[in-house]
Structure formats: C-alpha cells, structure tokens
Symmetry: D2
C-alpha cells in the first residue's frame, strides 16, 4: 500500500491536511501515519514503534489485534460468516448474547435485557435517555459536571464540556447539572444538595427521569467518585423512582478492575451503557443493558443500520473469555497499584509539576498544576515513542490508559519514557 | 459454533426472545437465525437459502462478502494492520481518502473536505446539522415530510416518523417541516410555498441554517423527488444563503445509478452525508462531505471513538474500484428499468393490489392500496425464501432494494418469488 | 399639569426622547403629546384635535371616556370601592361575572367558565395555551402565518412576526405554523393540508394540543378567514380532539358586528381570549373563557397580581349594556358596509395605489401595492388630524379601526381626511 | 349594586363558584365578597371590617384608596384626561417620567432609561430577559431556588415553584438554577459555587446572559439575601459581563425601607423590574429600568396594548411624593423593627410553633415548623378580621405584608389578632 501513497505528490501526512476536514484532532497530537499494531505497540510508516498508553481512548483494553480474537475473526470472514445483519437474528449474535449472559450477567446476579442500540457509545447513551424518559414520562435528566457522554444532540446535552456543547448550535435542554463527587472546592455533599433540591417544591428542579453518571470521569479529567457517594446516589434514585444510568463506556470492560466499574461499590444500575472495549478488537459495537421491568420499548422504536455488526460480535464473544475467571481482574488491580505508586512518587520527586494523582484500576491521571506542562509532557512522550493523551477541562491531566493486558516490562518501559518526558519538560 | 448453541436449553430463536430487548424488530419479520451469506444470498442455521432484496437496508449495495473486498480484509487483518485508530493518521485511512478523491470527487468536479463523523449515518447527519448551524449562526433546519435521518436526538428532530419521534421523550425543536415534492394530494408547489414563507416577515419561519433532504425517501416510502424540484430547492438555498444538505445515506453509493443520487439532477450540495454502503462490506462507516468554505470546524469540536474503523477503510477503498468506469452504473440503470417494467405490469395484472410503482434506479416500491397486503406479501415472500421489507408511514410499500451487483438470474428468481407471494396473498 | 412640564428645560416630546427606552414606537408615528379625549376625538397639548381611527388598537371600541362608564367609574372611586383585590371576591367582580353571563354567554348558548388571567391579552393567551397543553397532555400548538398573539414567551411562540420573534433571544418551540386561509398565492386549502399532515404517520407533525387563531388577523394585515374555513378548522378540531382557541382580543367585543367575531360562522371555540375593549374604557383587563369540561386548572396554578382590577370591572359591566339589544351590532354592520364601499371606490379612483380592500365589520384594510405609500398616507393623515395606523408584515396595509360608536359625520370627516391624504401622497 | 346581586338566586359567593374558573385561589382563603377599602382596612358585603396585612401581595404599599391619589384620579377622569394611549405620548406619562427621574433616579445617581413593558410584573420580567439575551447574544439565564418572577412562559422558566412550573405543559428551558443565599442546609457559598462552574470549561454551564434575583424572595418564603452576598453576585456579573437583573416587583417601592430594595447593599443593577406598588393605587402598571448602554431595543421590538395606562400614571406620579423626603423610609424601618421584635418574642413565647423569623423592612415571615400550623393561623386570623397570607414552597411561612403607611394602632391591632390566632391554633 505504501507504494500507492508514495506515487502521489503528497507525503502521507499531507493527504490528511489536504483532504480531511479541519475537525480532525488526535492526528495533530500524534503527527504520523500508523500502519500496524500488536498488543501494546504500534508501528508507523517509517517503521517507528510506539508504546500505546492511550488504547483507543479505552477501546483497546485487550491491546491491539489480540491473537485469539484475530484468529476467530479471520475464520469468520474466511467462511463467509454474515457480516451485516441489521437487527436480524444471526448465529454470531446469538452466541454473543448467550456468552454475555453466562460469563458476565449471571455470575453477577444481573438480569439485564440486552439492546444493540447502534455501534457507538453515543447510540447507547441516546437510547438510555430515551428509554428513561419513556418509562417515567418525565423529561429532565440530571448529569454531573465534567461528564462526557457523546456528541449527538441528546448525549451532548448531558456532556459538560463547553467547547463541545458550543458545537451544537442550538440550546441544549431538559438537563440539570449537579456537582460531581468532590467537585466544589468549597466543600459540598452533592447528593445531599440534590436531595434538598428534589424535596423542595420551590427549587425549580422537577423530579428527573434519570441520573446519568460515570463512576470515573475519563474525559473529564480522571475524576473518581467514591463508593459511598455512588451508593448514596443509587439510594436517592430508589427512593424517588429515578432511573439510574451508568455510562460504563470508557471505564467498563475491566478498566477499573472488575468487569463493570460499579461492582466495587455494589451498585445495580437500572441501565448500563457499554461500548469501546466491548468488541475486544476495537470494532464499533455498543450495548444498552436494561432491567427487565424497564424494557418498555415498542419493537423498532429505536433502530439503526449497524446494530448487527457481526464481526464485532465474533471478537466480543472471544473477549469474554478473559472474564471466565478472575486472573485478568487481579492483574489489573496489581498493575494499577504499581502505576499509581510510581505516579505518587513523581509528585514528590518533581515538585515543579505541582502534580497530584487521581484514578482507579488502570485509568490514572497525573494532574499537573500548569496545564501547559501536561501538554508538553504528552508531546515529549510522543517524540520518545509513547502515545499518551491529556484530559480534563483545561487538558491539565496526563491520562494513563494502557491496555489492561500490557506486559509488565512494556508497562515499565512506557512509564520510563513518561518520566523522561517529565524531566525533559521540567 | 452451532454446537455451542445447541448445547443450551434454548433454541436459537429463544436466545433473542429471552435475552434481547423488546426493541428488536427485523427479527420479528424474518424469524430465523442467519449464519453466512455471499452475494445476493443468505443462509440460515437450517441451511435454508434466501435471496436478499433488502441488502442491509442499503448497506450491502455490492452484496454480501464480496470476494475482492473479503480478500483485502483478510490480508489486512492477517498482517496486523491497525484496526482501531480514533482519528489518528493510518495508512488505510490515507489510502481511502486518496482513492475517494481520485475516483469519486475529482472526476465529478467536487472539492469536498472529508469528515469521519463516527461510523453510522446518524453521526453524519448530526455533524452536518451542527456545522450548518455553526457556519450560519442560525438554529432552524427545514426538513421534509416522511424524511428519515436517524435516531439520535438531532437526527430524530429532522425525521418525520411519529412513532420514532415519540421515542424521544422530549419535544423535538428547531425544525420546520415542509411538504416533500408531490406530497400534498390537493396539489402544492412546495418550494414556491417555502419561498413565500421565507420572504414573508409574518410567516413565523425564520431563515433556516439548512435544508436537509433525501433525493429519494427510502424509509419514507420510496418517494422520488423530481430533478426539477431538487434544482429549485438548490436555487432557493443559493439565493438565501441556506446550507443544502443531501442525506445520501440510503440512496447514495450507486443505488439510483450514479454514485451520488443527486448527480442526475446536477446538484452540488453544500454538505453530503454518506454511510451504509460506503464501506462496501456492511461495516460501520460514515462520511460527511463538506464544501471547503463551510469547513469551519475547530479541531475536535465533534469527535467519537470509532471514527477510525480501519477494517472499513480497507473494504471501502476496494469498493471504490467499482466506480473507476461506468460499467456498474449502466448495469444499475438497466436492471432498474427491468424491475420497474415488471412491477408496472403487476399493477395491471393484479388490480386487486390497487398498486402503483415508485422509485429510481434500483430502489423501487410497490405501493399497495391496502397496507395489510404489503405486510402479507413480505411475510409470504420470506416463507418462499425472499427477504424483502415494507416501508412508508403505514408500511404500505413493498420496497425492493436488491444488491446492485445481483446477477440477472437471481434477480429474476427473486422477482418470481415476489410475484408468487402476491398471487398467494390475493 | 401643563405648567409642571413647561417649567423644565425639556419640551414635552423631549421628555420621552430623554427618559424613555428606545423601544417606544407609536409616539414615533404620532409625534405629539395627548392630553384628553372624548368619543372619537383626542386633543394634544397644543389643543389640536384629532379624529381617532386607531381606537387604542381595538381597545377603545366604545370610544374614549364614554360618559356612562365615566360616571360609574367616578362614583366607584369616590365611594372608596375596592380598587385592587388580587383574585379575592369583590362586589364589582361578582357583578361583572353575573352581567357577562346574562348579557353575553346565556343568550348565545355558551357555558364558558370565566378566568381572569391577568389584565392583558398576552396573559389570556398564555393561560389558554397552558390549559390546552395540560388538558390534552400534548405540547405542540398549531398557529397560522401572520398571527399576532402577544409578546411574552409563550404568546410570542405563536406569533408570526419575525422581527418580534427575533426579540425572544431564544429559539421558540413547540409550535407548528400553518398557512392562514388564502395565504399561499399558489392556492392551497390549508385545512386539507393540515388534515393530511395529521393523518400521516410520517409527517413529523404530531397531534397538537390546540389550534389557535384569529378570525380576522388585525396586526397581520387585516386578513379575513372565511366562515367556511373557520368551520372546517373547528370540525378538524372536534374530529381529532384538538382544543380550538379563538384569540378574539382585537376583533372581539363587537369589532366585526357580533360580540364575538366567530358568531357569524357559528363556531363554539373551546377557549376564547378577550381583552382590549372588554373593560370598555381602555383599562387593562382580560378574560379567558373556558368550556366547563376543559376547566381542569388546579387552584392558583396560574396567577398574577392584577387579576382583580375592579375599576375595569366597573366600566366593563357598564359596557355590557351595549349588548342588551342589537342596536350597536346593526350599526357596526351598517357603518362597516359604508366604509368598505368608500374604500372600494378608492381602489378604482386611485389606480396608482394598486390597492385592494380587506376586512369585516369595522376593521378594514386598504392594502397598498407599495408599502411606502401606506406609511406616507398614515403620516399625511396625522398631519391633517387623523390617527390611523399601518399593519401587515411590511406595513403595507392602512388599517381602519374607528370606534364602533363613532357618529356618522365624524366617520365621514375622517374618511375625507384619509382621501385627502391619499391624494396628497399620490 | 348589592341589589342587583341579591335579585338573582345566587348568593354572592355562589357567583364565583358557578361562573369563575377553578383556577381562582385567594377567594378560597378569604371566602367573602369585599366592597370597599380605605388605608389598611377593607369591608365586605356584610359590612364586616378587616385589617389588611396582605396589601395586594405588595401592590398596596400606600394602603387602599389613598386620599391624595384618589383626588388626582377623580380629577383626571372627570376632566376627560386620556385614559388609554398605547405607547403614544401623553401629558400624564410625561409628567410621571419627569417626576420619576427627579424624585427617584437622579437623587440616587441612577441613569436608567424607562420602559413601559405592559402593565404587569411578568411583562417587566419578560422584557428584561429578552433584552439581556439580545444585548449579550447568549441564551442562558441564571435564577435562584424559590424565585418567583411570573406566570408567562419566559418568567415561569425563571420561577422555582414546581406546581406553577408544571402548569406550563412544556419543558422550560434556557435557565440554570443556583442556590439562593443560605439555601443549602449543609452550607454552601453559592456565589463561589457559581463562579467555579463558570470558570470551569467542563461544568456544562455556559456564561449566562443574565442573573435574575429578588433581594428578598417574597413568594418563596421571605428569604433574605445578605448585602454581602448581593454585592458578590454583582461583582461576578461585572467581572464576566453578565447582565444583573433585580426583580423589585414585590419588595421595591419602599417595602424594605429604601425605595429600591437593593439600595442598602449599594447595588447598581443593569436592569430593574418594578410593578405592584408603582402606581400607588393598585392599578396595573409596570416599569423596566435599563442602563442606557443596554437600551438596545429596536422601536416596537416589544409592545403591548396597555403600556399607556394613564390612570395609573396619574396616581403613580402622586405616589412619588412619598419619596421627596425620607419620612416614609424612616417610618418603614421603625415599624419593621417593631413588628420583628414582636415576632421574635413569639418564637420564644410559643415554642410549640417551632418558629423563626425572617424578613427585612416591612416584609416579615413567621416560619412555622409545621406548615399546617401556618395555614391554620391564616384561617384563624381571617375569622378574626385579619387578612394575612402564607408563602414558601410548603406554605409554611405566615407572611406579614401590611401597608407601609399603616398607622401604629392598626398595626398593633393586627398583630394582636395574629397573636390571638396563634394561641387559638396552639
């Protein structure tokens, strides 16, 4: 393929400059052209290798092109397994449903009905919001500061980022934003606050259809809600008949240790949104999990062309085998502790960073006192062969999101590059 | 895989009944479990074969698992080509951009910038609406009766179907609906009507940011706009500085003959939405094409996890080779005429159907006087081994959407089943 | 009082220039300072006299300071009759309710409950929209092109004028605008059109809570709906369970002949809005009339400080005596015919005006081919001692709205000034 | 008049029961029919006398039918002073503008332009919101918990009461509600909180067009903002270019001591809304005061029929004479202290009330631990000849709102009745 590109007058990066819309973004942080990848490593056209601490923003929890999934995928494609099926029945879909039920839901005592809302996270969020509104007959949804739930109009309305919201071009409505756990620097128990508002006939906040939250806000800057706070939110929902939606798109599928990020706190959300790593291979796929009593959809009330992406079902089914025992889960927790410990040391070793550490499991943030530093660290890391992004409202957080399956030596190698980059920047 | 399913207590169809949300729909019209497919044929678990006149609702214009695309896909996966890349640069993406430019845009004198808005049609529509609103600073969008543009909140607001709209659970706003070409039975030139409204300071309709339309409304019942009407809409847009968005998701990629459905009318829309068949293989992928002067996005203002679905780029690039010459285009027009002629004969031969024919190229509708008849015909066809769906507000239209690449004998075989089904129903 | 003003440095008109907001409007068309008024005549500070063909935009149907009302008002004030009462019970209010029932409702077979929604027309409209939405549980309201219903956000949303709508500063929603009777120059039966939209599951227009209309659009340019069209709208409402709201604020209270403007067509609207001339004396007062089965308000669900403006109740009660027999009604119809005949003659006599005549009863419009002419005629008339305004989206209509009680010679005198003004302009 | 009513079969209260909408409210708390009033006393049909501690919900600060205003009103009406003038220039209006400028604005160093937005408070609020949005080009408005700003759709959107909001029948949007000073029982500096939200690019709260507030929330339960908090809000507005709107409809015109309720805190709001007592006589009238640099209205962009209610201008001008010196202001402060001291004593003397006292100037609330008690006290007071209402989200506050001009002995008499009622209830 390389040849074809080189025949043109354009250098490979110029292709994007010339032909792609100005909306492109990550290519600006990581200005190269990637060709192949395996596990935690990626290669570019110049055959340079990179360690990947970004993992497709959480879509590659099992690394790139996992060999067992790859094999299943090749077999399926080679045997003319049906690729596209709208939402008709297919063997690949049945198999996934069955395995998801046996490996994930049943052992956790969960009875969710599974909806395929379209292949991206925002499809899952939009369907969850629709269903919560339909089931309750209410319109307001409560979200939290620095939430990120997607770019289509319904999901964008529950997303906190002003720059993204501005893109809507119309006022976003039917949403009330509450402070996330620990948000207000002046101190505020945000669930008590919400509870007072809902109990007060004069607060202007009517009983919402749903509360939607991430247990760890990835895009929002690796903000971690405490288990106690999460349980308090759930109790409020139960007491007032509010649908609790957990958006586990970025931090589900094992990112925090357990398969669902809310397991540690013992939650049983009414609706769960999954996407990103659910296919295991980085293929577009999303799920909306719904408590049976809430599954009040009429047939076809929400639809979409790519609800039946069978290639994704095939790799997703294989990916579930990681969850047949607790090996991976233990590994994630262990690696998480190791990474965290190292980050904590840096906060002391490099006081010029004015840094603190946030995170849970293998999503960790190095919060820099000066946002510019965070950006410089990310750039320096890229030059040194490490892909790592920033997050937070001012991009002040260096966000570590390595594949969960990363081997210890690659993890260390990546961390060493990161430390070198910090030293370079300071 | 079959074994795994049969080992459980559930029959394969029971898996869906038990585990999937009640929102599932097409599986109700076509109650079987498909396993593999090739070209215009699909097989189910019982190894029954079906001719496919549905083609993934337009996502499989080149049929199932096209051998050349399949080969490229297998090679790419086998060589650990990067699968998931957010919107970073990859070779597969560069190659697609370049080919799309060379094969599609340049020969047609089009200078669009290409945006990857996320992998589904609704992502393309949402991004188009956002951009039109941003570029003009206006909020209203004009859509048309019986339009179908997607299920997320922004796209749903420009979709006509009441049942789908009802699913929103909130009022849908910032949209004004106009009658589509030929809509009002009492007669009405809908562009003249819109023009009068926009010229009138008392009409309550402010100048819109955009007009969004399908040149043929697929879901809406195979309603075909005339070239003259389309040109009149475009002229109105030019005169008033309104962004013209053509949603070519269902009827682009050759469905009406030319690659873009608007080529015959000579339109140059400001924004074009493509999805469904753009990957060629039924893989999730979508494009938003933007006139350079409208490409006012800030970097990352719209984003999403699956903008870099490289497996789709690989098959999409291969699919473009169909458009290096006009062989396929001629074939589509020819087949379209043949099918249409046969349908027209049926309207005479089976007066009990009270049918008329609508369509363009290879999207054709047999509009039944009695909606029940249309549903019965679809059901009878399925029993006889033909997958064919209904469309229109009352599901009164039997919609023919065979792969564009269907061979003549399979096409005839399918049409014969359809005629048999009609006779059975009557 | 004159002295007090003259003592300052400011000329009386300068007071407004210096101290009042730039939003002031009619004072710009009629740049003088009025002091007193009686019947159809007004005097200014320079003691110049003007004939009033504007009548408070319909708020002075019985002329200025009618002697019988004035007497009642003086007596009431002098005897310390309660002036302000929120919505507590007062004798003046009881008396009005009773008389309104006896003189207006009962003889017409109407059983409306009477609501005092606040003292202005827009309060009546807002309450009507709220109630229709509450009673039906639906959100959309259908209004018509060139409608005018008020300036507060709910009423503004059903008002057609783009300039006024623009003042909202936020998108106005939950409204669908249909063409008024005879609106589309290309011809269109707008009720048939609406009916098709409502019957069509793909039209994007859901069943509305209400249809709101004026039988004659005053501000919109003296557009007259035919009785047949009105009845067709009412039938559609009945058939589909839509609340029919007639805004009779400008053309009720006898302006078209009968007390209600919809009597001639034989309508029985579900809700009627009255204001402007209901107090008889130009005092702020408004009513919302509600069919008993629709009176589903909870106590205090809509409120306001000036629902109990007793001075207005006193003059309003006296004003009702005009409707104890049909003398005034006959007079209005007669005068209307006379004025119309004269206007019709002008369209022939002054072909340069390219004028046509529209109207019903004593609301009549001389529609000028060139909007500039209409404005010049109004200005020329003011210079000659006649107060007359323009209306319509481009102010192209010279609107005649004399007091209903104007004596024939003053009417002729006013018409003569108007004709002189036309001649002057031409 | 009494005769006319007695001739019918209906008892006077039955007239309301039979003919008025179920929305009527205060007549349910005070079930009698009033006939006349003077100063702080009202009489009913049975000639029973009541002391008025409600004062038209703040519309009768100078008591009922003040003799000097009454005389001016009678003279004006008798001399055929123009009653209704739309927004044309009249002598009465010029005189009011001039006096308002000389007596109120100039001495306070205020340079507001005066807008007559229509005769009720909600007109003033709607116009203020429109103007703030127009001037800033932004849509969001920040309001506070338990705010009350009116019943039309724009004002209702910034009103906190859920029951009233529910009446809208559509979602209310473009508003973000913040906790009022001292609102959250868990402690929260609400301006710091708002400031953090506005500084945070991820908070989901975009920079608002305006902040609207009452310095004392009357309907909301006599909640008093501290001067320090008010100044902090103002500073935030200045720093971020946010329009500060003070709704002084209920607590302006001297209710808290100074003419404007914000004078004590030293605020200079950008826009001020006045109504209720501005006419002095309880006649419908409202003002929107606008800093000159914000007066960006186009002529007629907001209008209305009753902007020129000249009878109200006449009494309003006379009412201004109360503010030529500080006699009334001193008196209000003195009476306020006396009433407050007595209420404070009751909180000790009647521990069963579990009461606390809130308020400023002559708006005072006795907050009862048990809302039922508050309602019983109001009812018991009515039986004993005292008109007094409850306020707050649960009607838990007995609200004292006597005329500012009440003579000391009547004030004491009223307080004694109130104490008797408390004793009766306990």
């Amino acid at each position: 393929m390389l040849n074809a590109i080189q025949e043109t007058m354009l250098s490979p990066l110029d292709v994007f400059e010339d032909l792609e819309s100005s909306v492109r973004s990550y290519i600006r942080s990581f200005p190269t052209v990637f060709t192949r990848a395996r596990g935690s490593r990626m290669w570019d056209l110049q055959n340079r290798v990179y360690i990947d601490f970004f993992a497709g923003a959480g879509a590659l929890n099992y690394g790139h092109n996992h060999p067992r999934m790859k094999e299943k995928l090749l077999d399926y494609v080679a045997s003319d397994g049906i690729a596209h099926s709208l939402d008709m029945g297919t063997e690949a879909k049945a198999r996934f449903l069955e395995q998801f039920q046996q490996v994930i839901l049943e052992p956790r005592g969960l009875t969710y009905k599974v909806m395929f809302p379209g292949p991206t996270g925002t499809n899952a969020v939009e369907s969850a919001l629709k269903l919560a509104r339909k089931a309750t007959g209410r319109t307001t949804v409560v979200n939290f500061t620095n939430a990120f739930h997607g770019m289509t109009l319904g999901s964008l309305a529950v997303t906190g980022n002003k720059f993204k919201r501005g893109g809507a071009g119309v006022p976003l409505s039917n949403v009330v934003t509450m402070p996330y756990d620990g948000y207000f620097e002046g101190g505020l128990d945000s669930v008590d606050y919400l509870e007072q508002l809902l109990a007060d006939g004069g607060s202007g906040i009517s009983r919402p259809a749903a509360i939607i939250l991430e247990t760890v806000q990835g895009e929002g800057g690796v903000n971690v809600a405490s288990a106690a706070w999460l349980r308090k939110v759930e109790k409020l929902c139960r007491r007032m008949g509010i649908v609790l939606i957990v958006d586990d798109i970025q931090v589900g599928c094992g990112r925090t240790g357990a398969f669902f990020s809310f397991e540690d706190a013992g939650l049983k959300p009414d609706i769960v949104c999954l996407s990103k790593s659910i296919s295991g291979y980085g293929l577009p796929m999303a799920l909306t999990l719904i408590k049976p009593e809430l599954d009040v959809w009429d047939p076809g009330e929400h639809n979409g062309t790519f609800r039946g992406h069978n290639l994704a079902f095939v790799t997703a089914t294989e990916a579930l085998s990681f969850w047949r025992n607790d090996t991976l889960e233990q590994e994630i927790r262990l690696k998480g502790k190791r990474v965290r410990a190292r980050l904590e040391r840096w906060t002391v070793k490099y006081p010029g960073l004015k840094a603190k550490v946030r995170g849970r499991g293998l999503i960790l943030g190095l919060v820099c006192g000066d946002p510019e530093k965070a950006k410089q660290i990310s750039a320096a890391a890229f030059e040194r062969g490490l892909i790592i992004e920033t997050a937070g409202p001012d991009d002040e957080v260096v966000k570590l999101l390595p594949p969960l399956t990363i081997d210890p030596s690659t993890l260390d190698e990546g961390l060493q590059i990161l430390e070198d980059s910090i030293e370079h920047v300071l």
